[in-house]
């Protein structure tokens, strides 16, 4: 089947893969992993010692 001369290249990263069911992870669209918010360090003290004992 002759589909003629190439015209352009399209890179398609779909937000939803058009396949029913589960997907292999490497076939899913690439996403930037979300970073967990950094937590303030808890000061050591009677309150935190009390929390650990619970």
């Amino acid at each position: 089947m002759d589909i003629g001369q190439p015209k352009r290249i399209i890179e398609i990263m779909p937000t939803a893969i058009p396949v029913p069911g589960e997907l292999e992870p490497d076939l899913a669209p690439a996403r930037t992993p979300e970073r967990e918010p950094e937590r303030e360090p808890q000061p050591a003290g009677p309150e935190s010692a009390d929390r650990r004992s619970r």
């Binding site: 003629g4 937000t15 058009p18």
Partner: protein
Amino acid sequence: MSRTSTASPAGGLELTTGAEPIQAWRAWALTGTRDGDDLMLRPVARRSRPWKPRQPTEAACTLARFHRAPHPGCTCGLHGTHAVEILRKTKCPAVLGRVALWGTVIEHEYGYRARFAYPQRTRLICQFCFWMAGPYAAAPEHVGWFPKDDLMPICDEHLETASRYGLAPRHVLAAEAVDQRLRETYAVDALAV
């Protein structure tokens, strides 16, 4: 589809990006058991690599193994066409449908070559009616089973002609049941032409 365009070093072709799969026309061969189980869509040209149900099909180049399909300088990739009429030239098609294409897609004058694809809508066709009348031909009534599990949808008239010339299938199934089972297997909708 929203696309952005950039200058491209890829063989001088324009490079664009998109977020929605491209919909195109495609024809497949069909295999299955004598009872119509294990239905599998296959490429018409090289039937060895099936399109597995509920999994994206990924292109692989059998001509040169050192590039990723589709390559601008090759003919590799999963093919789809802009117009359905061009598929009338396909050799022995059994299923006509719409296919979603994504990943790297090379657009040609009359169709596409893609890295990933999955059928969206399917319909059995009698290859002789399709060749003569195009996609508007009536749906086939039968599906013939041949050795090597080849399934050939065929209408009343052409089944009779095939039988007259000693080319009758070994076993005949009801096309409506096979058509429905194929759609359930791939979880796709019926193609209305």
